[in-house]
């Protein structure tokens, strides 16, 4: 394998340069800013309007004026169905197809890096973004919430009250839950990205798949299919807000996403190592 050949860049440096390229891109920065804008918009809207009646709008919206930390929860809730998958789709769909369309894929493979390693590094980069995206929403939400609203003990779904440090921990857990939730989608995007040299195609297909999966999840007639849909547990992050914490959905979600990573990782491997790289 080329991995062992002398002069091959180490995997770490390859990953380092991939992360650097990814997070230095203006597009990545713009997407993170857009994600951070969601909690800011929510907080501003709640601040400027009269009090929200309970039970209207997205869950937790009525709690914001009492406790700023709920801005982060609401923002994460709002961004789960579309905004987060959208940004993941862009990053994951771009992984291989982006290099191919720029004509740089050839050079990456000429350097004796190995296709498998390149695939792994690309996926690791997408995973890093899967972590960064929900963390950005959570951080921006907590920051804007704390600056516009009082921060105090947080009422969980069970009616129990926890202190702000514990509540911050729960926020981190939610962000971790969402990062895990998006890992499967990133693997799908990686595979789609190996199929084409048009990055926009892979991005759009990834986002469309996430929407289709969510629609299928709503149809009671397809109940047998629901546990297999990669979006099925996306809203399960609320279980982190119960007292005591319910870990079942976290575990099921992790299992499911691991399955998707295995299946689409293997598909991407099959496709990428047999692919004729012409550009």
């Amino acid at each position: 394998m080329p991995n062992s050949a002398s002069g091959a860049p180490s995997s770490l440096s390859l990953l380092g340069s991939e992360l650097k390229t990814l997070f230095r891109r203006r597009r990545t920065a713009a997407m993170l800013v857009a994600l951070a804008a969601i909690p800011v918009l929510i907080a501003a809207a709640v601040r400027l309007s009269s009090s929200v009646p309970a039970g209207r709008g997205p869950a937790f919206l009525d709690r914001i004026s009492q406790n700023g930390l709920f801005v982060a929860v609401t923002a994460m809730l709002v961004s789960v169905p579309l905004f987060l998958p959208l940004t993941i789709g862009v990053v994951a769909g771009d992984t291989i197809a982006g290099e191919a369309s720029l004509g740089t894929l050839r050079y990456l493979l000429v350097a004796p890096a190995g296709r498998v390693r390149l695939l792994l590094v690309k996926y690791a980069g997408a995973l890093a973004f899967c972590i960064a995206a929900p963390v950005t929403v959570a951080l921006a939400g907590a920051a804007i919430g704390a600056s516009l609203f009082p921060v105090g003990p947080v009422t969980l779904l069970s009616g129990d009250v926890v202190q702000p440090p514990e509540a911050a921990l729960r926020l981190v857990l939610i962000a971790a839950y969402l990062a895990v939730s998006l890992a499967g989608l990133a693997a799908i995007g990686l595979f789609l990205s190996t199929l084409t040299v048009v990055p926009v195609g892979a991005m759009a297909a990834t986002v469309v798949l996430s929407v289709v999966s969510q629609v299928l999840d709503q149809l009671p007639q397809l109940e047998w299919l629901h546990p297999w849909l990669f979006t099925h547990y996306w809203f399960g992050f609320a279980d982190v807000l119960r007292q005591p914490v319910l870990w079942d959905s976290f575990a099921s979600n992790a299992m499911l996403q691991a399955g998707y990573i295995a299946v689409f990782g293997a598909l991407a491997y099959g496709r990428f190592v047999t692919k004729d790289v012409l550009s």
Binding site: P58, R63, G159, Q218, A262, A266, Y269
Partner: protein, 420 residues
């Protein structure tokens, strides 16, 4: 090219491995030690003797009653908006999960887990709290002293406090609805088992099926089958824990339906006493708090109802004008004292008939029943009235305002309606 072909092997192997894993996982695990053979009577005794009062576990309840199913909509919508009746009906469609914590007869917590929300019932000695996270509302009920040692007999309002519904629109609120005996809080296997054991008599055949495993515990499968063909119920299966005798799962099978019409069972269970803090509840800041009135307990018919305690109201929050009456309690029953239900048939074939109420109440009642979107969709016009048909229970609303209920085919209800 063979090499290229080899590269696709993982892509084929991974799904195959996952499929194999799922298949192996779906084979019911055999219990390590088979349970000792027991006769139906012995299993019944085991069930009757069980004394498990400290446990925590997760219960899954599912219903396949043939009622129209409402698609799970966005996170903010939910049955809470439909008021009390919907909460009762809610457990007759779809699936629900709840966590149950119990420690001794007087400490209990039930958490019904909704999507992005939760409804809690917490009891510690004489204090019972209801909490609904959807609108951050809590209700408190102080049990009278003599009830403090009553196990599990928490009087339950039909709905956890939700937004006040328009008056006159709530069939479940002040009507003794025998059709829907389901408590608003998820029925536990315990509740269901007690319900059905009450009807075990000569009309029922009791057998013990092959052992099953529920929530990782070996259990006897006690099967109650009506001897008659004239009922919608085919079989009731109760999984009785081989060690403690605790009912772990109850399934009600309807005739001509493969899936259980009603099932509630543990998916996980721990017999260790839960942490004491689980039973502590203080209404969270900002919550709307309602004080519920204690209904007179049937054990002491002469006792007057306790006055409501107007305590615990958060400043700045508008309290509800009057304390809620627990519906279905004697007050509303006596209100319609003239209405004596008639009973025809016996055992599984019992048909209960409610005569028409005077002064047009019946029409209003039927109208309000049919106003419920779920019910009106389910009711079909049959000769002599309208029929609400479910897998287990049929309800006939006759044109002259009488109501007939029974776990029998619709024809029998019509016959009963014609005979009176």
């Amino acid at each position: 090219m063979i090499r290229a072909w080899l590269r696709w092997v993982p892509a084929a192997a991974v799904p195959a491995v996952i499929a194999a894993g799922v298949l192996v996982g779906s084979i019911p695990a055999r219990a390590g030690d088979p349970l000792p053979q027991k006769s139906p009577a012995e299993v019944l005794t085991l069930l009757g003797q069980h004394n498990t009062r400290s446990f925590s576990g997760t219960v899954e309840q599912s219903a396949e009653m043939g009622l129209p199913e409402l698609p799970a909509a966005g996170p903010s919508s939910g049955p809470v908006s439909a008021g009390g009746a919907a909460s009762v009906l809610e457990f007759l469609t779809g699936e629900h999960t709840a966590r149950i914590f119990m420690d001794g007869p007087t400490k209990m917590r039930v958490q019904v887990m909704d999507r992005l929300a939760e409804r809690d019932v917490i009891r510690r000695d004489n204090d019972v709290w209801f909490y609904n996270s959807k609108d951050n509302s809590a209700a408190h009920l102080a049990l009278p002293a003599f009830a403090s040692d009553l196990p599990m007999s928490v009087p339950e309002p039909p709905a956890l406090p939700g937004p006040p519904a328009p008056p006159g629109d709530l069939p479940g609120r002040d009507l003794p609805l025998p059709i829907l005996p389901g408590p608003p809080v998820l029925p536990t296997p315990e509740d269901l088992a007690r319900e059905f054991l009450a009807v075990v008599d000569s009309s029922t055949e009791v057998t013990v099926g092959p052992d099953i495993e529920i929530a990782g515990r070996a259990a006897y499968s006690l099967e109650l089958a009506p001897k008659t063909q004239g009922t919608l119920v085919e079989k009731i299966a109760i999984a009785v824990d081989g060690e403690t005798g605790m009912p772990l799962r109850v399934s009600v099978m309807a005739r001509g339906q493969a899936k259980p019409a009603l099932q509630a069972g543990f998916t996980s269970l721990s017999l260790a006493a839960p942490e004491d803090s689980v039973f502590s509840f203080v209404a969270p800041p900002g919550a709307t708090i309602k004080e519920l009135q204690v209904p007179p307990i049937p054990l002491r018919p002469g006792l007057p109802p306790l006055p409501a305690v107007p305590g615990g109201i958060t400043p700045g929050v508008v309290p509800d004008s009057a304390p809620d009456k627990i519906p279905g309690s004697e007050a509303s029953l006596h209100h319609r004292g003239a209405l004596r239900p008639t009973v025809t048939g016996k055992g599984w074939e019992t048909v209960v008939g409610f005569p028409a109420a005077p002064d047009g109440q019946a029409a209003a009642l039927t109208g309000s029943l049919l106003k419920d979107p779920l019910l009106s969709q389910a009711a079909v016009v049959v000769p002599g009235g309208r029929l609400l048909s479910t897998a287990l229970v049929n309800v006939l609303l006759t044109d002259d305002g009488r109501i007939f209920v029974g776990m029998v085919p619709a024809g029998r209800l019509q016959a009963a309606a014609g005979a009176v």
